[in-house]
């Protein structure tokens, strides 16, 4: 590198140290400052430079002043466009938004806010993970949200990978880019197993716990939840203007299910988690209260999105068996 011209050397040094400079792990937003932005000519920039050389030789050869005028005009436009490209990224603020949990194998979506703090609109900003297709946007007003998706292969927390933000605007002759890593993770639930929850009543591997009451005995009311059978709604009370309540019976769909880690001892860890995951989804869909009993944690039966999320989170974060 000693023999490179200083400019190239500078660029090369920056390139090779990209990882070290590429992220600020603490804050959940990054401003693209001048130290974060790299810029190099594109293939078309090199082609353009060759055109300029040809024009220059032609103009000199024919001693044609207007030839020089055009050559120098294009040269200047090329030079000014470098500034435009660079400025297109400069001071752009990127912050993380939400990243909803997904099941392993489906695409994880990270939301990013790009904030333009300048008056000038930014055109053709392109953001992408390493291998996925980019999101291309113009930022005219203050803030734009983009979604970047990436594949998921493993349950647990998946951190948002390195994002490349780049732009070739306006002329495509040079490309400014920046690598950013932001401390955002997306929870990946286990991959649901194929085997569904056995018909309720027959008792799956989970075991069914009929608390105190059996049969069709009415055991009380609870708040109505979407999915409850209309036959079990206490319509009389509802007619008086009360909230909707569902009658609970000892031995019907609204009975509590317990999904237990220990009941699946025949399977290896990941398959167990997958199976539990599947049952939880099915139980939630069927409107059954369900509880989860893991070796180190027990979640009391319940229903609803939050409950499901809590259960699935436990599964997602279940420690992997230490191999070897």
């Amino acid at each position: 590198m000693k023999y490179l011209p200083p400019l190239i050397e500078n660029i090369a040094t920056r390139l090779f140290n990209v990882e070290r400079r590429s992220g600020n792990a603490r804050s959940d937003s990054i401003v693209l400052t001048r130290r974060r932005i790299y810029i190099l000519p594109t293939y078309y920039g090199v082609l353009f430079a060759m055109l300029l050389m040809l024009l220059l030789v032609g103009a000199t050869n024919y001693n044609n002043s207007l030839g020089f005028v055009l050559t120098f005009l294009l040269t200047s436009i090329g030079l000014v466009s470098i500034i435009h490209t660079y400025r297109n990224l400069l001071q752009l603020k990127i912050s993380t938004g939400k990243a909803s949990a997904v099941f392993c194998g489906s695409m994880a979506t990270f939301h990013l806010q790009l904030e333009n703090r300048d008056k000038r609109p930014r055109y053709n900003i392109c953001a992408r993970f390493k291998e996925t297709s980019p999101a291309i946007i113009n930022i005219n007003d203050e803030m734009v949200e983009i979604k970047l998706t990436c594949t998921t292969t493993q349950r647990g927390w998946q951190t948002m990978g390195r994002i490349t933000i780049d732009s070739v605007f306006p002329l495509g002759l040079c490309r400014a880019w920046s690598y950013i890593t932001l401390p955002k993770s997306c929870l990946i639930y286990p991959l649901p197993a194929i085997q569904p929850l056995p018909p309720i009543g027959k008792g799956g591997g989970s075991g069914k716990e009929n608390s105190q009451n059996g049969g069709d005995d009415f055991i009380g009311y609870r708040d109505y939840q979407p999915g409850d059978s209309p036959r079990h709604v206490n319509w009389k009370a509802a007619a008086h203007g009360d909230k909707l309540h569902t009658k609970r019976f000892g031995d019907n769909e609204s009975s509590e299910l317990w999904f237990e880690w220990d009941s699946l001892s025949a399977l290896e860890t990941e398959s167990r988690l997958s199976q539990l995951c599947r049952w939880i989804i099915d139980a939630e869909q069927n409107g059954v209260d369900y509880g989860l009993r893991m070796p180190d944690i027990t979640i009391r039966p319940g229903q609803g999105d939050d409950h499901q999320h809590r259960c699935l989170e436990v599964l997602a974060l279940h420690p992997s068996p230490v191999s070897g």
């Binding site: 078309y44 040809l54 030079l79 306006p170």
Partner: protein
């Protein structure tokens, strides 16, 4: 690095921008290319246009395009006899570009088409470097750049003319950098290698041959031959003879320089009076001589004065050339060598016998050569000769026919006939061609000499006085000499310009406008077209830049300074000024963060308020009020200063 553009979907609009700008670049070539090629190129363009109008873009098959390529190559070869050289090169470039239209698919194709378009734009200025063509070239470059920008804009980012706005900005910012490069980039005197034969074509002017009618052909042309800036006073019109080729040899119909080998270094004449100093800016005329006022005293470095007192150069003048001169309008030349005497009396045998016998008759009747000359001039003046731009065609004995039959002629008729008469009377005579007169441009303070000022006159050699200028045209049409060609043919020139002004004021303004325009053209020639390595070093040495190395350093420093200034300026200007309302809200958020309630980046004010209220129900009412005020001020267009004050007060009073 190509992959970075791979995701760009090329929109129809981009293709339309490209087709429009290429059509603009091509338009001036339509007439100069062979008709088959122009038609072919236009057909390809229209073809692409119609493809683009269909729902799906289906390009003609590859084999078909290959056939078209071969066909165009053959046509170019058949027409020009080569595929190289300037004219064939331009034709080839246009055809390749038109063919490219039929295969454009990827971003790469589009960019190559745009780059070739820039090349086509520069071919516009190969022969013609006027102000208008320069403006046109810039328009073409502008459109091509706009196309390039459109290609780099995401499809949905319309208004569709946003690219024009960005291009205008880019051009405006590029202009100062361009000027730096133009003036400071070290110019190497060209050419770097020998140019093709057809490199400079289409130049007009006086040649070193004359026949009856050759100068009157020029006289309809308003093209500028050269411009002259005098250091002291402008020379009078009747002394304003601009000396070009000197013609000796004739076959009775055509006149030639004859032996040009007689370049003799020891030319001498006795100057009388004061020298006239001036600078000439000569338009390229593709001949090996310069023009100087009769008689040139000093030669510029690129020329020598030959024995005919003509300024001759080693090579053809193919570019705008500027040179300093001094001349003497009064002079006395020395004796004639026997060879010159012989050449100055040469008469073709068996031609124009009536004219020759008239001359011989005068020699016998009159005593002195001076008397003969005066008699001849009287002859032209008294006989019904007329001065016309459209003389009748003459046959094999043109001088006889002119003198005794038609009697209508232009300057070359008078000069040629006069010379034949004088030689027959034994007086050594030669013809001088060049320009006479010119328009004085009061705005730019210089003289414009145009092709229509082309003139032919004679010199007779008189014992004791040497060569004496005699202009027989002056005896027929003195106004031609006094007031210039324009007034002699004013009727004709008026008709030509199709503008007839009755009002003197209008004419005056029109003249002023014309002088202004020419003055602009003159500055253009001096500063843009004529800016070459010589002028560059002359100009830059005045500000202390002497060597090419210094030029390069100065250029790099100036360009970098300019670009840095541009960057800093635009960054400074573009930072958004935060409005008062946002600032107050920011303070509000800061205040809340002290108690651990942080506003999340994706959280709108309403969500944030709700979260605060759930966390701190005790300050709910104040928070709600601040929220409502903030939203009202921020998102409703009309609000008063008082409301802002109130919001500020609320935030200040918020107790946590």
């Amino acid at each position: 690095m190509k992959k970075h553009l791979a995701h760009i979907v090329i929109s129809r609009n981009t293709t339309l921008w490209l087709l429009t700008s290429l059509l603009l670049a091509f338009a001036p070539h339509i007439l100069s290319l062979p008709i088959t090629l122009s038609t072919l190129c236009l057909i390809f363009g229209i073809w692409r246009f119609s493809i683009e109008r269909r729902a799906t873009v289906i390009l003609p098959p590859r084999i078909f395009r290959a056939l078209l390529l071969c066909a165009t190559l053959v046509i170019v070869y058949l027409h020009y006899g080569t595929l190289f050289g300037r004219e064939a090169g331009v034709a080839l470039l246009a055809c390749m570009l038109a063919l490219k239209l039929l295969e454009m698919r990827s971003v790469r194709d589009y960019i190559i088409a745009i780059l070739l378009g820039y090349f086509l734009a520069v071919t516009l200025v190969l022969d013609n470097q006027t102000l208008l063509i320069a403006a046109y070239m810039l328009i073409v470059a502008f459109m091509l750049t706009a196309t390039l920008i459109d290609l780099n804009l995401p499809q949905k980012s319309k208004p569709i003319t946003i690219n024009l706005k960005i291009t205008a900005k880019l051009f405006a910012q590029a202009l100062p950098v361009m000027l730096i490069l133009f003036f400071l980039f070290p110019r190497i005197p060209g050419p770097l290698w020998s140019l093709p034969d057809d490199a400079h074509s289409g130049t007009t002017g006086i040649s070193d041959e004359m026949s009856m009618g050759s100068i009157s052909n020029l006289s309809l042309s308003n093209k500028v031959a050269f411009r002259v800036a005098f250091e002291e006073t402008v020379v009078d019109n009747n002394l304003s003879y601009w000396r070009g080729p000197v013609l000796w040899k004739t076959d009775g119909k055509n006149w030639r320089t004859g032996d040009s080998a007689h370049i003799n270094r020891d030319i001498s004449y006795r100057p009388m009076g004061n020298p006239i100093n001036y600078t000439v800016t000569l338009e390229p005329h593709n001949q090996k001589w310069l023009y100087g006022l009769d008689l040139p005293a000093t030669a510029p470095s690129l020329a020598v004065i030959n024995r005919n007192f003509q300024l001759v150069t080693k090579t053809e003048i193919k570019e705008l050339t500027r040179y300093k001169m001094s001349s003497f309008s009064e002079y006395q030349t020395g004796p004639l060598s026997s060879n010159e005497m012989q050449r100055a009396l040469q008469l073709p045998a068996n031609r124009n016998s009536r004219a020759v016998s008239l001359g011989q008759q005068w020699q016998q009747q009159l005593q002195s050569p001076l008397a003969i000359v005066n008699h001849a001039l009287q002859y032209f003046n008294q006989q019904p000769f007329s001065y016309t731009l459209k003389p009748p065609l003459l046959g094999n004995n043109p001088v006889d026919e002119f003198l005794f039959e038609t009697q209508q002629g232009f300057c070359e008729h008078y000069a040629a006939s006069f010379t034949i008469l004088m030689r027959a009377a034994g007086i050594p005579t030669r013809i001088i061609t060049g320009y006479q007169g010119g328009d004085f441009n009061p705005i730019g303070n210089y003289l414009i000499v145009r092709q229509r000022d082309a003139h032919a006159w004679t010199e007779v050699w008189l014992e004791g006085r040497g060569w004496v200028r005699v202009d027989p045209t002056a005896s027929v049409a003195p106004e031609r000499i006094e007031d210039g060609a324009e007034s002699a043919f004013s009727e004709l020139f008026d008709r030509q310009s199709t503008l007839q002004f009755n009002s003197g004021l209008l004419t005056k303004n029109w003249l002023k406008l014309r002088y202004g325009w020419d003055s602009l053209n003159n500055s253009w020639n001096q500063w843009v077209i004529g800016y070459d390595s010589l002028k560059q070093s002359e100009l830059l040495s005045r500000i202390g830049i002497e060597s090419i190395k210094q030029m390069a350093v100065a250029m790099v420093i100036a360009v970098i300074t300019m670009l840095t200034a541009l960057l800093l300026l635009s960054m400074h200007r573009n930072r958004k000024k935060q409005d008062a309302v946002s600032l107050i809200y920011q303070r509000f958020c800061q205040k809340l963060s002290t108690i651990g309630i942080q506003r999340l980046p994706h959280e709108g004010p309403i969500d944030f308020t709700q979260r605060i209220i759930t966390l701190r129900p005790d300050i709910g009412p104040q928070i709600l009020q601040i929220n409502d005020l903030y939203i009202a001020l921020k998102y409703r267009p009309r609000h008063t200063q008082q409301q802002i004050k109130y919001l500020q007060q609320q935030v200040r009073q918020l107790k946590l």
